[in-house]
């Protein structure tokens, strides 16, 4: 039986070491050869290994070509359904079904497609990025054996993985590899639209406004034709952000109004939170601080997922800080910190630093240098130049106002240096 790749995938999924799996059954080096399909194990050994992994050996009947063709058809159809549906429970259900009904692949290529598709589903249902990292590394080992479609799936997954771990530039790198070959790839229209949507988000996250709007419009055309209204709504939000960042405020307002209209007409009320948030940042950019604050409050009221409230609480604090409402800054910073602790999600630690900074800045005793330095250090670690710049300048202002000119000058310098990097400038001559 050629079950090496299955055993390996399941062992890695369970985070089990080769020594542990092999103990009392075979030597670890023998297991290693089995996993690489260099050796075909005896039925007894295969049975014991599968049992230790909690898999039912009976299920792993030799599959014929026809079963594999049927499975492949079902797999690709499930992939389309899951990606277009975008429903967490539906994804979970389908993933479970695939994992329970996976045949014993005689065909390595089908196994690769299966692994790449289930990896994508796992990214949707799982939060454990360490495990996902191991899995993507495992997939990378087979990259030379992938066909064109599998390579596309791999780059698609790798890009998404990079984006979700904060590496936007690397995410764009992988998506541009796909982009250059897009026309020759055997993709369905839905897949192309999905790709255009995701690359539009990546481009926006890295400040490439024009590229983003171009791809968002391409995705929008397909989603509108297919009446996939929640996706149309997402595209309008993206287009609104693009216009806002190009200072075309009226166009941004129109895009958000369209998104709001769709949420009303198609009962997509859960999307109102994100629309109100962006109406808030738009008004803030237009100088309408009070209007912005009203939108942020509406956004917080409409958001169902508590983790989504963090970004809005931060924006609210920023605008209260601008208008000098110290009490409200402190209240909201406190609420934000409490929510951060309730969520208990390390991925959101940046918010803890934002909230702590503002809370301290507007406290009775004034900014704590320790808190400010911890925030700056954190953003240095994650290479978020925008916030290193921001908090260096804020700390410098604090020193300056307290007549600590030497410290102030050094931090202004740091702040400016990171500001250059953020705005992609090398030297002052470039300003």
């Amino acid at each position: 039986m050629k079950i090496g790749h299955l055993i390996r995938a399941e062992r890695v999924r369970q985070d089990m070491k080769q020594v542990v799996l092999a103990k009392g059954i075979c030597t670890p080096s023998y297991l290693s050869k089995i996993e690489r399909n260099q050796i075909e194990p005896s039925e007894d050994i295969a049975k014991l290994l599968l049992e230790r992994l909690g898999m039912d050996p009976e299920k792993f009947q030799e599959s014929d070509e026809e079963t594999e063709i049927e499975f492949e058809k079902m797999l690709l159809e499930t992939y389309r359904e899951v990606i277009t549906e975008r429903d967490l429970n539906f994804t979970r259900e389908k993933l479970e079904y695939l994992e329970q009904n996976v045949p014993l692949f005689e065909n390595d290529s089908l196994h690769y497609t299966y692994s790449l598709i289930t990896f994508r589903f796992n990214m949707i249902v799982r939060i454990d990025s360490e495990k996902l990292k191991q899995e993507i590394e495992l997939l990378e080992e087979f990259i030379d054996d992938f066909n064109v479609y599998q390579l596309y799936l791999f780059h698609l997954n790798k890009g998404l993985f990079c984006y979700n771990t904060g590496n936007v530039k690397m995410a764009i790198h992988y998506y541009e590899l796909i982009l250059h070959k897009l026309e020759s790839l055997p993709l369905g229209e839905w897949e192309e639209a999905e790709f255009n949507f995701i690359i539009a988000v990546f481009y926006m996250a890295d400040g490439h406004t024009f590229n983003s709007i171009d791809h968002a419009r391409r995705a929008l055309n397909f989603f509108r034709e297919q009446l996939m209204m929640s996706r149309v709504l997402d595209c309008y939000i993206l287009i609104g952000i693009s216009y806002k960042r190009s200072d075309k405020f009226q166009d941004a307002l129109e895009a958000y109004s369209k998104a709001m209209q769709i949420s009303e007409e198609f009962n997509l009320h859960s999307e109102k939170g994100i629309i109100y948030h962006n109406l808030g940042t738009l008004n803030s950019a237009m100088g309408n601080t009070h209007q912005a604050i009203e939108y942020y409050k509406k956004s917080i009221d409409h958001k169902i997922d508590p983790s989504e409230k963090l970004i809005t609480i931060l924006s609210l604090i920023e605008d209260y800080s601008k208008t000098g409402e110290k009490d409200l800054v402190r209240d909201w910073a406190e609420k934000g910190i409490t929510l951060y602790h309730q969520l208990d999600d390390e991925n959101q630690i940046s918010y803890f630093h934002h909230f702590s900074f503002y809370q301290s800045l507007h406290s009775e005793h004034g900014l704590s240098v320790e808190i400010a330095e911890a925030a700056i250090q954190h953003f240095k670690e994650i290479k978020d130049f925008r916030f290193i710049h921001k908090y260096c300048i804020a700390l410098a202002e604090w020193y300056y106002n307290n007549r600590k000119y030497k410290l102030a000058s050094s931090l202004y310098r740091d702040g400016i240096r990171y500001g250059y990097i953020y705005s992609k400038k090398e030297k002052w001559e470039d300003l």
Binding site: L88, R126, I127, S423
Partner: protein
């Protein structure tokens, strides 16, 4: 002291220039999610 004051003035001017050039991007817009369950910490 004179040197220090001029450094500070230069720093202030440069600081303001950098801030102005990115003024419209300074709020955190909330991007649509690419996956349903988790997203990049701060989506700028």
């Amino acid at each position: 002291m004179k040197k220090m004051v001029s450094i500070l003035l230069l720093a202030l001017v440069l600081g303001l220039t950098v801030q102005n050039s990115t003024a419209s991007a300074n709020n955190s817009d909330q991007m649509p999610k690419v996956l349903k369950t988790f997203s990049y910490t701060i989506e700028k």
